[in-house]
Symmetry: C2
Subunit: 262 residues, 2 copies
């Protein structure tokens, strides 16, 4: 993390992206410029792009594709004109043969003429809307594996990854109503209540603190998570892939409240 820079004082997506481009901010983007659509990033060679896009199409809840760039073009011309996907995220993870070999803050030297970037809607987008609606999230957001299979395409296959949030039953209803309005950012929950029914792995969280025993009066609510396509791409052991680092998303110019009913 850098010093002397307050991510909560950023007032526009462009300002946030430029701070990350200049290396002034290398931390997570949750709650940075609330109200704008945030995206997970997956960069693949063109040769792997068709199967991956079909995989996303077959699994729209975990993989809502917001934009696909033309091969070699690092600018997401539709959702953030002028941005550069090689520099405008805080941290990237570089995978070779399915293994993360390094984390970097700039991928300019790794970008290729056949690189295609996929921007995939993140639930970071609706967290701000949940808080506005009075659904507190300070209890935590956990990223968990499940036993639910996704629909395969080409070499891409694997289980659904979910985010889990703890809330009261009344809040669960509000959260269902509200996230239904964001079909391109995972939409409504995939499950509510008993984690075992979807095989949610509470023992080995992918991201987030250890899962506490669930306090009386609260229930877990589960959403499809944009980490799914990353995990699936990792499992397929592709020779070369770049992603954002978990929690360090790309911030688009799309207003979440406008984008909810495209």
């Amino acid at each position: 993390m850098s010093t002397g820079f307050d991510p909560k004082r950023v007032t526009s997506p462009r300002e946030a992206r430029l701070a990350m481009r200049r290396g002034e901010w290398t931390g997570p983007t949750n709650f940075m410029v609330p109200g704008y659509v945030q995206c997970n990033l997956v960069v693949l060679p063109k040769a792997d792009a068709y199967d991956f896009l079909v995989y996303c199409q077959r699994n729209p809840r975990p993989c809502p594709v917001i934009e696909v760039t033309d091969p070699g073009d690092p600018e997401p011309r539709l959702c953030a004109p002028g941005a550069d996907l090689r520099t405008d995220l805080a941290r990237y993870a570089v995978y070779r043969d399915g293994v993360c070999v390094e984390e970097v803050t700039d991928i300019t030297s790794l970008w290729r003429e056949d690189s295609v970037a996929f921007l995939i809607g993140s639930s970071l987008t609706f967290d701000a809307a949940l808080i506005r609606a009075g659904v507190p999230l300070e209890r935590g957001v956990w990223v968990l594996d499940t036993a639910i299979p996704t629909v395969p395409a080409g070499c891409f296959a694997g289980p659904l990854v979910v985010t889990m949030r703890l809330m009261t039953p009344a809040q669960a209803i509000i959260a269902t109503q509200l996230t239904t309005r964001f079909p391109f950012n995972h939409g409504a929950p995939v499950h509510v209540g008993e984690p075992a029914l979807i095989g949610a792995d509470l023992e080995h969280t992918i991201f987030g603190p250890p899962v506490p025993s669930i306090p009386e009066g609260l229930m877990p609510v589960f959403w499809a998570c944009g980490v799914t396509p990353q995990r699936v791409a990792m499992a397929s052991k592709l020779p070369f892939m770049i992603t954002h680092r978990s929690g360090h998303a790309f911030i688009t110019d799309l207003k979440a409240d406008q984008f909810c009913t495209p």
Copy 2:
């Protein structure tokens, strides 16, 4: 059209598909098995499939992709297991170099090992829901060209095609609320009121009767139309493409009311 077969008495999508497979029904599918998602069909060689899928991703309102089949596989395994896209539509249009060269009721002999089928949500899906909500459609549904450009991808580019329906202002509000619930079948209207503002071509309808002068008290409401990707593919003069014939859609097993918030 065949005789001795009443499309309104069909009780399941499978029954409707089998009737079309056997050639017992070769007419349009509007109002056939209401309540199930109906789809437009585009069949392309694999070599053209990536650019077309990216085109659809960039234009989700006219081109909501419900399913992409694996190359050579005529079965839409997700939305209608057991169906055969070579036989289970009533009528197909065959294009060579962008020109419709024939209309057929079976494409088995034209299907290739590299054929990929795209099923794209049709507004036929929400027409039944509009009628249930008291929005009458007997005034007609017109398919019109507009001056709104779509976002190009590869060789695919062209203007948005819309459907137009005439309704009272109160019905326009209900129709907006209701179709918002079907984001994967074109979603909310793209325009309401003055046709000239979107360059809607009332003189040369693509489909539907001549447009009457708009009766007092009614207003036109416009939705993105699944004919758009077909017209765009035609304009790109692809060597080989097969589509459904306009109005003769593929009927899936997806319940429209379940699919509205995937």
